[in-house]
Symmetry: C2
Subunit: 499 residues, 2 copies
């Protein structure tokens, strides 16, 4: 059995190398590539994808997995070996169930749809994007149907991002929090508005950059294993366990944009840098789920970075750097400004109180599309109706509405819910952290994050993808995914800020 | 036959994608990678190499090539199709003759030797590098012996860089030019020395960078298909026909270093950007040889960039940017300073008159090592003796002597001669260009390079690897590789500069 496991690991190592190589090519495309390189880069990435697929979805791997499964009955079910076999088998079954022909069709359709989406968004022209989206949804339905039987077609989509999670679970969680978040922002709307105009003036780019780098370093990001670059949309990517990179995008007239994006991506990067070295080059060296990944980014961005404790330490530094812009602004005023709640059109710019509503809107629309209750041509109206209902405002055009996200053009259906669930998990972890690390708020007030990072490394990061998200959160906190801590947090925080 | 050729091209396209992907990973390693990423990057590159090798050296490709060769008798021998089959067959035979076991051993040995070389160079400790070099030479001998029968074992090494060129050809060329170059620098040594002290003061890095970028652009480098970055050693790399990148390294106290390196790499990049789009993703989309590649870089660096015509146009600009440093310096003085001849220890810093002597020294030592007339342990003494004989000086230590180049640690034996042959080819082309483009010196004096670039594109670049270097130079100039134009150029140029 040991021989077979070694053999499997050898193949998985190469598959993992291909994945990292693809990540390098993709990062380079977004960060460096001269504009005319795109066609050839697409060919290269596609060739590597095909090679990785052929290496993994082979009779050899199938046989190894089936032998290992029947030989592994003596293994401790939570051992790395047993879990590796289980996780690999799950991925193998998923990849084998989808015909390669369909994968290629989806890949071609999304490549074309991406370009169409960029144009449609620029020209505010949903009609030109509509046939592409129809095609992608049709192919994605075909893909989902490869996983029959299921309770709900959307289960098969969710499973790509949140293994084990069901549509009915998400529905329950969302129907629990939606009315409470809607009510919260209604209350806030009726309170005195917060002034954040002093944040909307010019903040020198190089100084913004340096402050972000210093914060990331304080959080514990090791620049011997990381770097930050500029890209159109901030993201985190891994080229191994010791090379995990983040990107940001600086808005000269809104310093909070790059700063919180750097904190967010640092949270993602710290997670990936914390995977178990023993899991290296195997599918266990991955996040437990997309929601767990998001829990780490949101924890650092929101629970640390938008807290008063954090700014106790960092506001004096920030004010020294930007003394002109912040002249006369005190900590309390600054803290309120960076936590201002204001329903807006764009999800990625949303504050903590409204963010989940953007996500729930997308979830509802995705469900309706896949259940056959909504036709793509009616998507813009459905979008605007939900915006009115959840956030009380309607975008003036589709570019600020239904066309704002890249996800659907890339075929990423089932992804959005993980953003909101990530927020919930971050609060479950936060409560547990406060039970175990009694002095953590003081540490944060001192600009000292090593205790927090160590806790996350030992309780979350080290496990990688060994456990599914529901298992992992239960193992850490004793509960399954639960919205209560998040709702409690939002209410407490905004009651204080908005009285 | 058409079907078989299409099938072959499909495979070659993927092999080419792997090659470009490896180039991206390598470029990133040299330009961006955080320091701890090296181990994993090595694994990824090795996995991609193996995949490319397995894809290319397969029974399928062997069968296709053998079928195509027997079917292709009706093809015009100089047609793209016939040449593609021929060049691919040559590469296939080379790759199949070397056992994969030997390739792996060489790869491991060079990885270890590289690290050993870096340390040995830093610590001036040849002894610690010696066993690595012995191992590499032994394995390289084994590799060469796979190509028996040959006239000379070194033929098999040369062939990797200069297909079709023989040791005896190189010997003849070098024994022709060596006494003339030795005599030339002896004469120069006896002339009045040139003052270049004004070039050895501080020149602001960002201004150096911008001037280099402007020159590259003037030469015709299209920034939509290229970019420049910083790396320890300047190089050019291709990620396709529309993404070819250069690097440089700026010395704050020697502006000529980055400037001429940018011109040099721009020459390489223009070559790669000029390959025939019809040859895309095939082995024809490559340089004719390493010497031809070097002819392009040296042409732009030396024949254009160190000419008085070039500086007629650019010196006033350069002097405006660096007015303090160049106050009181006129064009004539500047021109002499950038063409100062001074025997020195380091090849990469050598001037035009001494450069080839550095190369010939290495060629002689390589021959002796592979003929069995020199043992690695005696290499440092042999190095120093040759330095005395060719350049009239002896390095004070091995770091400035036998340990200076990375090549041998990487197993690149047979590579060095191409540097000198590239210089010869550049002059053969230069003479032909002056016959066909009567006004070219005036164009260069006007800072106008499009005519020159167009000539190179039409006569050199477009052919890619369709012809071997001897065929190509003959096709362009009517002569085989010939040292006379180069020697004539050196004598004329330095007679004028040194009277």
């Amino acid at each position: 059995m040991e021989n077979k496991l070694d053999h499997l690991k050898q193949i998985l190592g190469k598959v993992s190398d291909f994945g990292y190589a693809i990540a390098v090519l993709d990062w380079d495309q977004q960060v460096n590539m001269p504009e005319e390189g795109d066609l050839e880069r697409g060919e290269q990435i596609s060739t590597l994808h095909e090679a990785a697929h052929n290496l993994f979805v082979s009779d050899e791997v199938g046989q190894l997995l089936s032998d290992l499964l029947s030989d592994s009955s003596g293994l401790e079910p939570d051992s790395d070996e047993a879990r590796l076999i289980k996780v690999t088998k799950r991925e193998f079954d998923k990849e084998t169930k989808i015909p390669i022909q369909l994968i290629m069709e989806l890949s071609q359709a999304t490549t074309m749809a991406h370009n169409a989406w960029v144009k449609a968004k620029t020209n505010n022209d949903f009609k030109s994007f509509q046939p592409h989206l129809e095609k992608i949804i049709e192919l994605t339905k075909n893909k989902a149907e490869c996983f029959k039987p299921y309770d709900h077609i959307y289960d098969a989509l969710l499973d790509d991002y949140e293994a084990g999670m069901k549509t009915t679970d998400v529905r329950k969680i969302f129907s629990d929090i939606r009315p409470q978040q809607v009510a919260l922002i209604k209350n806030i709307k009726e309170s005195n508005p917060i002034d954040d105009s002093f944040l909307k003036v010019n903040f020198e780019k190089s100084k913004q950059w340096q402050f972000g780098v210093d914060v990331a370093k304080a959080f514990g990001l090791d620049w011997k294993k990381s770097r930050q670059d500029v890209s159109a949309h901030p993201f985190t990517t891994s080229f191994g366990q010791k090379d995990v990179r983040i990107t940001t995008n600086i808005n000269e007239n809104l310093p909070t944009s790059a700063l919180f994006s750097t904190m967010h991506e640092t949270g993602h990067a710290l997670y990936e840098l914390g995977f178990n070295p023993l899991h290296r080059r195997t599918p266990l060296s991955n996040a437990a789920s997309f929601a767990f990944h998001e829990s780490q980014s949101r924890l650092w961005e929101n629970l640390v970075g938008r807290s008063k404790f954090f700014w106790n330490h960092f506001f004096p530094k920030f004010k020294t750097i930007f003394s002109d812009q912040l002249s006369g602004v005190d900590l309390e005023t600054f803290y309120k400004a960076i936590n201002k709640v204001e329903p807006s059109f764009i999800r990625t710019e949303a504050d903590e109180a409204t963010y989940n509503l953007h996500v729930m809107l997308r979830f509802e629309l995705e469900l309706a599309l896949f259940e056959g209750n909504l036709r793509v041509e009616h998507l813009p109206e459905a979008w605007n109706e939900h915006m009115q209902q959840y956030l009380g405002l309607v975008p003036p055009n589709d570019s600020l509405g239904v066309l704002q996200d890249v996800h659907w053009s890339a075929g990423l259906f089932g992804y959005f819910p993980t953003y909101a669930i990530g927020n919930l998990i971050s609060l479950q972890l936060w409560e547990k952290i406060h039970k175990e690390l009694k002095m953590i708020d003081d540490r944060i007030s001192d600009g000292e994050f090593s205790e927090l990072l160590e806790w996350l490394r030992n309780n979350v990061h080290i496990h990688g993808a060994k456990y599914e998200s529901q298992e992992l959160i239960q193992k850490i906190t004793g509960s399954k995914i639960d919205a209560a801590p998040y709702i409690h947090y939002l209410k407490t925080k905004y009651n204080e800020i908005y009285n």
